[in-house]
Amino acid sequence: MRKFKWSNLYLILTFIVLYLPIGYLILYSFSEGERMTNYRGFTWRHYQELFADPRMIQIVLDTLIVALLSALIATIIGTLGALAINNTTRPSMRNTILSLNNILMVSPDVIIGASFLIFFTALRLPLGFTSVLLSHIAFSIPIVVLMVLPKLRELSGSLIDAARDIGASNVQVLKDVIIPFITPGIFAGFFMAMTYSLDDFAVTFFVTGNGFETLSVEIYARARQGISLEINALSGIMFLFALVLVVGYYFVQQGQSARKTKKRGVTR
């Protein structure tokens, strides 16, 4: 019993450490001062300043648009890719594609960013919204593939055979059997792609050019100049947003695991 208590203490300590900096940021977003030291009285002032800053709102909107668009396009491409990988019959081919996919997953942001910078410059593509969007799509595709593939593996071949037997066309099989079955994986992939895009700094930093900025780049620029509590207010809002996203993701996952346990119950 005693050992159990110690382990809980350790966990709680870990959680405190994990959340301390975030709590600290949000706490000071309500502080009356101008710096992140000596908390002084409650105020909404920094939030008001934030909402009155048209440049900041533009940046937030741009970031969201890039995240949503890139996640959407990456989800479509990634799902199709996962379908294609699932259809490859030769194991060596499949393994090669999967390893290439994994290499993209683990390669450092700096490398991806630098490669895209070279690539876009070679194509003479102007840096800005398009280049950021394209690179975000590119680094989100592998994660979508990884989220969708396991679901496709779970799909038993007999279901598809059954659909074919009762006369479904290829399109119908895809639309009425495969897609509904892998929907949780697609959603998980979409959420992950969106997080990646919202969270990305390094790749964006390389390909963003002068005119276009996302939140991460803006925060970096401001943090280098020193402390401004407007960033704290912004982080408060982003924390809330992340909370909403996490809860959404959690429910998608819960739905998935609930279905899994149900299935397991049936086979037993």
Partner: protein, 218 residues
């Protein structure tokens, strides 16, 4: 610089592993696992830059840590812009990425093996070193993979927290590409980084093959 960078990445990985393994292990034995796990994942959804920014406030000259030390009667220290600060913040950011794979590996572990080992008279420590830890090694390896490679290339942290004193491969690449415009040199360092990545992947992937074989046999 390459050596330095690898050394720092090693330190960061070791620090992260030291904190994460017990956390993942204890997490396995808690009730409401999913909720706890969600709480671990949650900080990773907060923008990296914001977390680094928070540490500027905490470690700064008049920051929370120095205030705390002051309250205990100690003189203020320079925490920000030191190597230790860089390692601390980098480890903080990477912890969830280390906990998750280890936790998954421990989850997959067959509880019967642990019981069998206890039945055969192994002490708690023996069970841990001979059964649990070797079987969760695959998780540790993917955790190391997930932490070590990014640690080689974290360039914003070296700027914001390390105060340009720490130069990692990532910092060097960023500098050559965006400041000095020496793309050739930047790409060369990039190749070094890729080679390091491949080495790490080779070192950490051996276990997964074996696992795959076991699954095939079953």
């Amino acid at each position: 610089m390459t050596f330095n960078s690898v050394w720092y990445a090693l330190l960061i990985t070791a620090a992260t592993l030291l904190v994460s393994y017990p956390a993942a292990y204890f997490l396995h034995y808690t009730k409401h696992k999913q909720l706890w796990l969600l709480l671990i994942i949650m900080p990773t959804w907060i923008n990296l830059l914001l977390k680094a920014y928070a540490f500027i406030g905490i470690l700064g000259k008049h920051g929370a840590l120095n205030n705390l030390l002051g309250a205990m009667g100690m003189a203020p220290h320079q925490f920000l812009f030191t190597d230790a600060a860089f390692i601390l913040v980098a480890a903080y950011i990477e912890i969830p990425f280390m906990i998750l794979p280890i936790f998954n590996a421990i989850e997959e572990l067959n509880e019967g093996l642990v019981n069998a080992s206890k039945d055969l008279g192994a002490s708690g420590w023996q069970t841990f070193t001979k059964v649990v830890f070797p079987l969760s090694l695959s998780g540790v390896k993917s955790g190391v993979q997930a932490v070590f490679i990014p640690s080689l290339s974290l360039f914003m942290l070296t700027r914001l927290i390390g105060g340009n004193r720490v130069i990692t491969l990532g910092t060097a690449i960023e500098e050559h590409f965006l400041t000095t415009m020496n793309w050739g040199m930047g790409s060369t360092i990039g190749v070094v980084l890729i080679v390091a990545m491949v080495i790490i992947m080779l070192l950490t992937s051996e276990r997964q093959h074996r696992k795959g074989r076991v699954i095939h046999r079953a």
